[in-house]
């Protein structure tokens, strides 16, 4: 039996209540214990207090670094914080010249503008020029002089190099100073001084893309190796054989200005007719009135045919038709009818081709009228012959030293690998580069040069047309401009600035009479940036030396595949590969960023199941495909300038390098290959296309007419406008802008699609670069894009370019759908964006029929995934302080450069005067090389924009008959007007 135990009498008597009492007692006890523990004592308080104070103190000490804005102790006279200054200067890199104005804000150059005083670039710039400001803030730049990739002081570097040069001189060992074409007369003087000190130094000029054939042909035809002055504005008929003079050939900005002024229907009634014969669809081909596909191997025979056709028209019986291009007869007829008012140019680097071109222009009497010799172009002076000679000497071990300046032959010469091998055996190799490239990285010494915005200098792009280059910022790094360096090595202790002034005093000041003292002459020229001396007619006479053999050599085309190597508008010869803006600029024709690719003809692609992004083997090299309408049959085209390996983190290994494919044929580099093999593969390669649909689908988007139609009725092609105006009706009040009402006219007939505006806008408005993957995702951020449409036959289509930016609709669909009212309308007709207010619903973006709104999909600034200039302190120096840098998640778009409008309004107010027409120029308008964009106040009846697009609020004032608004039928009331494109095709 179980024993019951008890602990006390109470439990024995009443176990239940005992248990209850016991539990209660325990509970009370525990409660008191817990209470006692949790109750804060004085010590606890002190502990907590101490911890809190300590913690607060530590936390407070981890504050963000203070960035001090130190005011000037003594303010420089011309600098007012917050106010921009403009300095005239000169851009000359990669054989491209531009006279520029540099906008400097608080000591930093942040924008390049065109200089309207320049007789060469005439206020125009190119995308490269616009983007060049970012090269100043490139992290890849050399930070100081280097020896064997180790930093050295300038003293040691100078000492060692001078010793080495002296020794080589004593040994009579040859040193070559290899430069690209030098157009600075003062620099030439410096080089002469260097050669005087070291007679063993030979100066060789080399250009990545030469005009060697032209120069040698001109030497034979005219007795002088020069590139004549082409007056595309005066020509009635322009025939270009494969010369992309609007995009990349010789002096595209100058030629675009002239070309568009010869076709300007905004002010004139004259229009040149432009024939383009080419294999690859170039910017010029896209703008041509008549484009004739031609294989590169056909060029010689086509030129010969044209020559013979012209002879026939002149009454001489000859044979023609070797090239098989039947259209040449009409071309010849047109040229013949416009004798003395035509231009025939060829992009060929063969001397023989250029000899025929010279002969054609001679018999057409163009020489002396549309082609003159008083102001020859000096930006390409190298001949391939001297370069070949240099390579022979280098590889033969005959050189004691090489000094490189502005050249990168290891990358951009077909013999690059030979040069790089030979360079290892040269005792003295020096580069004056400011940033690494394939050649400088092989050099023993880097005498680090400066960016052109840090330099003094001058230029003579065309004979007798001078311009000055002035520094707009102290050198950011321990660099020294090459001229200065060479002066030091020559043993000359004069500063280059003084040297420059002395040179100008001696050479130019003495030849003028307008200024009586040098300082005022100098200051005036420096302010204007350009200086002109009267042209001298050189009195060259044509002779047909070499012509007959050239005509004989013109062989008929082959049936093989041919590969064209061309420069792109954005990257040119690849010098700017590390510039993210240019890498992201869509190719004007293909609309592809961040890659080069092989363009293939449409018919072949369809027949062989090849599409965009397929990979084909061309001579065994894998290349991604872009199916290019207009690509001549049996031809392919690839851009040079890609595949850099030592450009910097942005530019390295983008695309592939095709410079090694360039062939040297009878001494001249030939930028096309005959007889290439083509194989298809099953592979694909992603390409970043920012436009994938190429037809207007019959919609009246980019309207056009022919010149003949326009002459009869200037509203031709624009018949819908009247209909739209008639049907425009609304229940709402008409918008009313009592003050200004900003408008923008875009002349589709002038726009060449070059992309200058896109980059200009990107620089001005701090538009982020987003990289290949995001571009491929169709998220490109550009506020102004150029839509490119094809029409007609895919084998040889017509091309229409249409720049599209925010249309600043007065009845904007985006405005009323924003839930937070982040995009209101201003009382000057601007559609504004309040970034602070935007929550990023993207409704506005969806509801914009023009799709010009851009969303910050990701954090593009200060993000390691977008490791471009906005991810480094140096790169961010280029940002425009007048424009907000947008954060992730907000929508942005074109503002008509509202900061510029406000700036000029303030200036006018301070000066107590009304705004002048044309005073305000948005970034896209300012430097447009074809003057296609006109901005102004539509409320000002005298303004140019009023004349062109009228008053958009008043259908009674429709502006120019060519004017229409994009998608006008939606009644969005855009403030942007487009003027129809006119094609002069009536042959």
């Amino acid at each position: 039996m179980e024993n019951k135990y008890w602990r006390s009498l109470e439990e024995r008597n009443d176990p239940v209540s005992f248990r209850k009492n016991e539990i209660r007692a325990e509970y009370e006890h525990k409660k008191s214990v817990i209470k006692g523990e949790s109750g804060s004592s004085r010590r606890d308080f002190l502990k907590a207090f101490g911890f809190t104070i300590g913690g607060t103190a530590i936390l407070a000490s981890c504050k963000r670094p203070v960035e001090k804005a130190i005011p000037y102790l003594i303010k420089p006279e011309e600098v007012t914080p917050g106010m921009a200054n403009y300095y005239a200067s000169t851009f000359y890199e990669g054989n491209e010249y531009c006279s520029i104005l540099v906008k400097v804000r608080d000591g930093r150059p942040i924008k390049i503008e065109g200089n309207d005083l320049s007789p060469v670039s005439r206020k125009g710039t190119s995308a490269k020029v616009q983007a060049s400001v970012l090269n100043l803030y490139d992290d890849a730049r050399y930070k100081g002089p280097l020896k064997n990739n180790e930093p050295v002081t300038w003293e040691n570097l100078d000492k060692e190099i001078v010793e080495a040069l002296n020794q080589l001189n004593a040994e009579n060992s040859k040193v070559v100073f290899l430069t690209s074409t030098v157009i600075s007369p003062t620099f030439r003087e410096v080089i002469a001084g260097l050669q005087a000190t070291y007679p063993n130094i030979e100066w060789v000029q080399y250009d990545a893309v030469p005009a060697s054939g032209m120069l040698t042909a001109a030497k034979e035809s005219f007795g002088s190796a020069l590139i004549p002055d082409y007056h595309f504005d005066k020509a009635n008929v322009i025939v270009s054989f494969n010369a992309d003079f609007l995009g990349t050939w010789l002096s595209p900005v100058e030629y675009t200005k002239k070309y568009s002024s010869g076709r300007d229907l905004k002010t004139g009634r004259r229009m040149s007719r432009h024939y383009q014969l080419e294999a690859h669809m170039s910017v010029s081909g896209a703008n041509a009135d008549i484009r004739i596909p031609m294989k590169p191997s056909q060029e010689s025979s086509a030129l010969a045919d044209l020559y013979h056709e012209l002879l026939q028209l002149g009454g001489t019986a000859t044979e023609s038709g070797k090239s098989g291009i039947s259209e040449l007869a009409t071309v010849a007829k047109d040229l013949w009818e416009n004798k003395g008012q035509g231009i025939v140019v060829s992009g060929s680097n063969r001397k023989e081709d250029q000899l025929i071109v010279n002969a054609i222009n001679h018999i057409l009497e163009n020489n002396g009228s549309t082609i003159t010799f008083d102001r020859p172009l000096l930006t390409r002076q190298s001949t391939d012959e001297t370069m070949e000679h240099f390579i022979q000497e280098l590889t033969g071990g005959n050189l004691g030293g090489v000094i490189f300046y502005e050249v990168n032959p290891v990358y951009d010469h077909p013999g690059g690998s030979r040069i790089s091998d030979a360079l290892k055996n040269v005792s003295l190799s020096v580069s004056l580069a400011d940033r690494p490239d394939e050649t400088s990285s092989l050099c023993r010494y880097i005498a680090t040069g400066s960016h052109y915005l840090e330099n003094w200098g001058d230029a003579e792009p065309k004979k007798g047309l001078y311009s000055l280059m002035q520094p707009v910022i102290q050198p950011l790094f321990d660099s020294r401009q090459p001229e200065e360096t060479l002066l030091r090595w020559s043993g000359n202790s004069i500063r280059y600035y003084d040297f420059l002034r002395e040179f100008w005093r001696a050479e130019l000041y003495s030849r003028q009479s307008a200024f009586s003292d040098f300082n005022s002459f100098w200051n005036d020229t420096l302010q204007k940036g350009v200086y002109e001396v009267p042209a001298e007619t050189p009195g060259l006479t044509y002779n047909d030396q070499g012509l007959s053999s050239a005509l004989q050599l013109a062989s008929p085309a082959t049936d093989n595949w041919e590969l064209v190597l061309y420069e792109t508008v954005a990257l040119g010869n690849g010098k700017y590969a590390n510039n993210p803006w240019l890498q992201e600029l869509p190719d004007p024709m293909a609309k592809i960023s961040w890659d080069n690719f092989v363009s293939v003809p449409v018919e072949w692609a369809e027949a062989n199941g090849v599409a965009n992004e397929s990979v084909i083997l061309v001579n065994g090299i894998e290349m991604p495909v872009f199916v290019q309408p207009g690509q001549a049959d049996k031809t392919l085209a690839v851009a040079i300038g890609y595949g850099r390996t030592e450009a910097g983190k942005t530019g390295n290994n983008i695309g592939f390098n095709v410079f090694p494919l360039v062939q040297v044929v009878s001494g001249n580099r030939q930028f096309w290959l005959p007889g290439v093999t083509v194989e298809t593969t099953a592979k694909t390669y992603p390409l970043a296309l920012s436009q994938t649909h190429h037809s207007m689908e019959g919609r009246p988007i980019a309207r056009e007419a022919t010149f003949a139609e326009w002459q009869l009725n200037p509203a031709s092609g624009n018949e819908l406008r009247e209909d739209h105006i008639k049907h425009a009706t609304t229940l709402y009040e008409k918008p009313n802008y009592p003050g200004h009402h900003w408008g923008l006219a875009i002349d589709l007939n002038a726009c060449t699609g070059c992309g200058n505006c896109t980059i200009s806008c990107q620089v001005e408005n701090n538009i982020p670069v987003i990289g290949k993957e995001q571009v491929r995702n169709r998220r490109i951020m550009h506020w102004i894009r150029i839509d490119r449409y094809y029409s007609g036959k895919p084998q040889n289509p017509n091309v229409s370019f249409q720049p599209v930016m925010c249309q600043q609709c007065d009845n904007a669909p985006c405005e009323n759908v924003c839930p937070v009212a982040a995009t209101p309308h201003s009382d000057e007709g601007l559609n504004q964006m309040a970034y602070n207010r935007c929550v990023g619903t993207r409704y506005c973006l969806n509801n914009c029929p023009y799709r010009v709104r851009r969303f910050n999909w990701l954090q593009f600034v200060k993000n390691d995934k977008f490791d471009y200039h906005t991810n480094s302190d140096l790169g961010r120096m280029v940002l425009n302080p007048d424009v907000t840098v947008r954060s992730r998640g907000v929508v942005e778009k074109c503002t008509f450069c509202v900061q510029r409008i406000q700036d000029k309004k303030q200036t006018a107010k301070i000066e107590g005067r009304p705004l002048r027409d044309g005073e305000i120029e948005p970034a896209c308008v300012q430097s447009c090389p074809s003057s296609a964009l006109v901005f102004g106040d539509m409320n000002d009846n005298t303004s140019q924009v009023f004349r062109l697009i009228g008053k958009t609020t008043d259908p009674e004032i429709p502006g120019d008959p060519r004017n229409y608004h994009l998608l006008e039928e939606l009644h969005t009331l855009p403030s942007v007007g487009y003027l129809t494109k006119i094609r002069n095709t009536n042959t």
Binding site: V820, G840, R842
Partner: protein, 461 residues
């Protein structure tokens, strides 16, 4: 008296007494949680977890983690938003419209439908928030007095209407659902043996005693909330449709959208109710309450709505041609019907306008598996409808240079999967913790077939 007709059979089967009804409906709450429930719940929470991870990615990196682009600013997020909102329509539509039409058969289903509404609207509500570029500033769309001027919201913007409509809808439908449950919670409180349940359900029962006064107020509140909800059912999706109809984009700018959206919403909602109810019936053996005739009735309704949907589709196609607008024509014919998005269009058309026609056949309506399958197909079809509206219109709008295609990133898909997980988790919670059939209301229809209680039913009107 309307329901007291001999044409219809009994609304619940099995000649159940009131206590039997309470017992049977409450059985799942009192019973041990079945194993499949844990399994289903784990799966749902797994999906939800993945969705939360995707949401985290979106918030941490930005909308760029989705597949959207400059041309297509709205993608799966908005498709899913509209889809869920549509599903969320069923509960209220069911309760309100059938209440108004005195369709007493609704009583077995309305609770489930309303529960579904609340969960679906919660899922839907996530998307407008998540698809913002800067969701941390979502309060900018509240019209509250502020020191910025004051800066008000844009009362013209359909997105603001959306915000108002959805907020109102979730408040009203959740209240309607909850107040309807109060008597049932009281029943649980009074019958359960678990003290925790007693306490919890007691709390939610709001001190309900079942007095006549309470019933009077209860009916009054139901009437008021029902009245408001009836308006909202029509307004919410009409307003959602204005997100598109107010736009200028071809394919969006359509006056047919408000009724088309409301009908579409009810269609997808009914389909989802059908899906849910067949699962509920099978899993919890509720055949006596959710009878074959219930399923049959919902199927018949679906035929009718499907015909309206088909008419709407045909109208859109006709108007696209008849309007003479090249942009409309291009969207409907060249993009949706015979273009890059033909699959999505025809999937929509077949699933919504063709397949539901099978319900004309009694043989189909009788086979629960087929009914279930068709209900799923309709749900998918309705998803494609929203895809068609949102994405095809944006991808082929006015300027062909802007034409772009869209495919979602896995993050977007993940968020959708997450909301599916949230939805199923919510429904499972509902199955487990809430009487899935409105006991008090079922009792009101159960009386009618019992001769001895005939006179009582007369009182209840």
């Amino acid at each position: 008296m309307i329901y007291k007709t001999e044409i219809r059979g009994p609304l619940i089967q099995g000649d159940k007494s009131f206590s039997q009804i309470s017992r049977e409906i409450l059985a799942p709450i009192d019973a041990k949680t079945p194993l499949w429930w844990y399994f289903a719940m784990a799966t749902s929470l797994g999906m939800l977890g993945f969705g939360l991870y995707c949401i985290y990615l979106t918030l941490a990196t930005g909308i760029g983690s989705w597949g959207l682009n400059n041309s297509i600013g709205w993608g799966w997020a908005i498709v899913n938003f509209v889809w869920w909102i549509g599903i969320g329509h069923a509960g209220t539509a069911f309760s309100i419209f059938l209440l108004i039409l005195r369709q007493q058969w609704r009583t077995a289903i309305n609770r489930a439908a309303e529960a579904m509404t609340v969960v679906a609207v919660m899922c839907a509500g996530l998307f407008p928030l998540l698809h913002m570029g800067r969701p941390w500033l979502f309060f900018y769309i509240f019209p509250y007095p502020n020191t910025r001027g004051p800066l008000w919201v844009n009362f013209n913007s359909p997105l603001f209407w959306d915000f108002v409509a959805i907020t109102a809808y979730i408040l009203i439908s959740a209240s309607f659902w909850y107040f309807g449950m109060v008597p049932d919670f009281a029943t649980i409180r009074d019958t359960t043996k678990s003290k925790i349940k007693k306490a919890v359900y007691g709390f939610f029962a709001f001190g309900w005693t079942g007095s006549s006064k309470e019933w009077l107020r209860y009916e009054g509140l139901s009437f008021v909330l029902g009245g408001i909800a009836a308006v909202l059912v029509v307004s919410v999706h009409s307003i959602v449709s204005t997100d598109f109809a107010v736009g200028v984009i071809p394919g969006w700018h359509t006056t047919i959208f408000p009724p088309y959206f409301v009908i579409g919403a009810i269609f997808s909602g009914f389909a989802m109710v059908l899906t849910l109810v067949t699962i509920m019936r099978g899993a919890y053996k509720m055949h006596d309450f959710v009878t074959d005739s219930h399923i049959d009735a919902v199927c018949r309704v679906l035929i009718f709505i499907s015909l309206i949907m088909g008419t709407a589709y045909m109208t859109e196609i006709f108007i696209a041609w008849y309007s003479g607008s090249i942009y409309e024509y291009s969207i409907i014919f060249e993009s949706r019907m015979f273009g890059d998005y033909a699959f999505q269009f025809w999937a929509m058309f077949t699933a919504n306008a063709v397949i539901p026609q099978l319900f004309w056949f009694k043989a189909v309506r009788k086979r629960i598996m087929i009914v279930f399958l068709i209900s799923i197909i309709i749900n998918i079809g309705m998803w494609f409808e929203r895809f068609n509206i949102v994405i095809t219109s944006l991808s082929r709008d006015y300027l062909p240079a802007n034409w772009a295609n869209y495919s979602p990133s896995w993050v977007e898909v993940g968020i959708f999967v997450g909301t599916l997980g949230l939805f199923t988790a919510g429904v499972l919670m509902f199955f487990r913790y809430i009487p899935m059939i409105a006991i008090s209301e079922v009792k009101s229809v159960a009386k009618y077939n019992k001769p001895q209680t005939n006179h009582q039913s007369g009182h209840h009107e």
